[in-house]
Amino acid sequence: MVTCCAIGPALDAGSVFAGDMMPWVTQRPDGSFELEMMIPGMTSPQTISTVEEALEGLPGVQFARVNFTGKRLVAGWQDAAFNPNIIAEKLNELGFISRPFDPRDSGLKADDEQSRTLLRAVAVSGFAAANIMLLSVSVWSGAEGSTRDLFHWISAGIALPTIAYAGRPFFRSAVRALSSGQFNMDVPISLAVCLAALMSLYETFNHGEVAYFDASVTLLFFLLTGRYLDHLMRARARSAVSQLLSLSASSAMVVDDGGSTRIIAATALKPEMKMLVAAGERFAADGIVLSGMSEVDRSLISGESNPEPARVGTAVHAGMVNLTGPLTVRLTAAGQDTFLAEVIRLMVSAEQSQSRFVRIADRLARVYSPAVHILAGTTLAGWLLWTGGNWHVSLMTAIAVLIITCPCALGLAVPAVQTVASGLLFRKGVMIKDGAVFEKLSGVDTVVFDKTGTLTKGSLQLANLPGLSLRDLALAAGLAATSRHPLSRAICEAAKSLGVRPVTIDNVEELPGRGLRGMLGRKTVKLGSRLWCEVPESTDRGLPEFILIRGQAKPVFFTFEDELRDDAAAVIATLKAQGLKVEILSGDRDVAVRRTALRLGIEHWQAGVTPQQKLAYIQSLRDAGRKVLVVGDGLNDAPALAAGFTSMAPSSASDIGRTVADTIFMGESLEPVLVARDVARVTQRISIENFVLAVGYNALAVPLAMMGFVTPLIAAIAMSTSSIIVIANSLRLTISIPRHKLTAHMASEKSLPAIPHFVRRAA
């Protein structure tokens, strides 16, 4: 007997990559070949040796090396005749979905390269800081005369190349800001570092007592650390997102003029090609049905949860799923008139109209950096007056002010805490693409949800189970066993969950767009649409349905519904309890949306909304001064996602949705929306604490500096302590949100609505 569970999930994007690996193979200078693959399913550490051993056991493969952090694999071989497709087949055999991966286009290599550059700069400045500090301590301990000069010269010898090498990121950014007429934090940083180094060099020439080489290099070291953390966070999220995208990079079967078929990568598809799409497959490109009859699931495109019929002449779009019968599709040009082109056009305009979000650090910098320059300038002028024109003393004091006010702790204040927070969320399957998202999420006052695939699971479930007899269910399940239609699968799942054994039915045939037919003994049984089963139309309840006809017996109705995510109600209730306005904006029909809204207790909802209307609505909310979090998954949500103050998408979202959303969450639960917001609020609070600590520290030290009491020793102590305090305060986040608690909390979806207790504890 055919069991239902053997049917592959039709909606699963991650089918086996069937294309040829050859285009992704790179030849190394020594003549050997390499192939890089992404294996997102490699989550358990044991898989490292499983994969490596299996691949190295293949004849011809010279080495296979797994990168567990990046979930990537590099395999190499010598022989040009080796067929790289064997590698993918072997991985498939082991149960891993793999994709070839070209590091040159994905931007990941660029990220890796940048992170290495930053790390190198951190290492160089760290080395320099340690050595100069060693010499400076000797000077402060009382080295005099030629010994002191020697130490200063050596310090200069280390510091100047270091500043030239490790200071470049700051100098570049400062020049960019100044040339566009703006101030950022990097302007006072660059100024302080350069002036301090030049002044110290002048002092060294003239056998002076005081040099600030240690201060300028230590400053660079701390700031680079902050910058590296920031980069690390973004690179990690980007790499995870590209993993997700790679999963849906699909292949397609095309029919040549001669009638032969071949499989090519979706990117190689061209207009006018004929594409063959089997039942259960996703369309890889837009087109028009040439032959065949089927039903298509367009939930990712329009939010419509019911399957729609597709026959000759129906337009289909990339992202839809073909459900029941094979279709031959003539591909249309990806011109201006396609649905995708329209969505992209809207998205671009939404992004352009989005006022640029100014991060808290930049807002502070706008006030802080002019203030620093004014303070230093005033100090210089004041001392010139006081000493009657002694440039030397006045300049030294002004530089001391610049060094003391240098936002070293400020540079760490935000990246440190955001790195900790994003690491925490990352382990929970929430990927934050940029640190600014924390700041945006914590300020949100309205949440707009899409329905299909966001509030709901995006798959249909049998809704009228209590009204059905088990005998009918067993019969229907027997008919539906081999079908990939979502309604058939829902029946099978319901039967399986009740432990009902499907009845064996002979000669089952599936008629695309109509239903299933088979023989039970000598009687014909049918399961399918109302029209086909010749049941008169009644009042439309708006739910998809199947009708079971057994001989002359009374027809049995099976109705289906797109089930809500298990914790949707609890999450919505908690969001409302937190004082947020919650709304639904869906492309699905009125009836379906109303039912969802009622069940979740959401008063504001709109149904049948086009992407344009979604975008316009979000923009109207924004113009009314609301800060909207848009949560959606479909292609039709993409413009709204781009227009929202910030946005989230489930990992099951359309490619474009995942690309445009600020945050992506994994799994069946909707709770990540809450968790992300709660963590963002704690993060934001700790960031502000950090700012207060850092600025407060400066406020204490500045008067001393202006009075000329700050020696290099005091500068060094002040700088290091404030940085350490800020980092220690950031690490408090992990203590505030205990890891085991978060895990237990996320794992048990049923334990809702006790959601924000860990945050309350933290507060």
């Binding site: 490292i48 080495f63 010598q78 290495r116 790390l119 190198r120 290492a123």
Partner: protein, 55 residues
């Protein structure tokens, strides 16, 4: 104070050695897969690094 002539170069050279070692390990890819490295020490059997002879 002539001892300084030995001590300072010694300190600098040792520091530079550390820096060079770090740079080398960075270039050598030892920081590319931190999670993997942490897990690999738990892999039981020693697998000889397979370098198949050129054919």
């Amino acid at each position: 104070m002539t001892i300084l002539l030995i001590l300072i170069p010694a300190a600098l050279v040792l520091g530079a050695l550390g820096l060079a070692a770090f740079m080398w390990s960075l270039r050598n890819g030892q920081f590319d897969d931190l999670d993997g490295a942490a897990n690999r020490i738990l892999v039981d059997e020693d697998r000889p690094k397979i370098v198949k002879p050129r054919e």
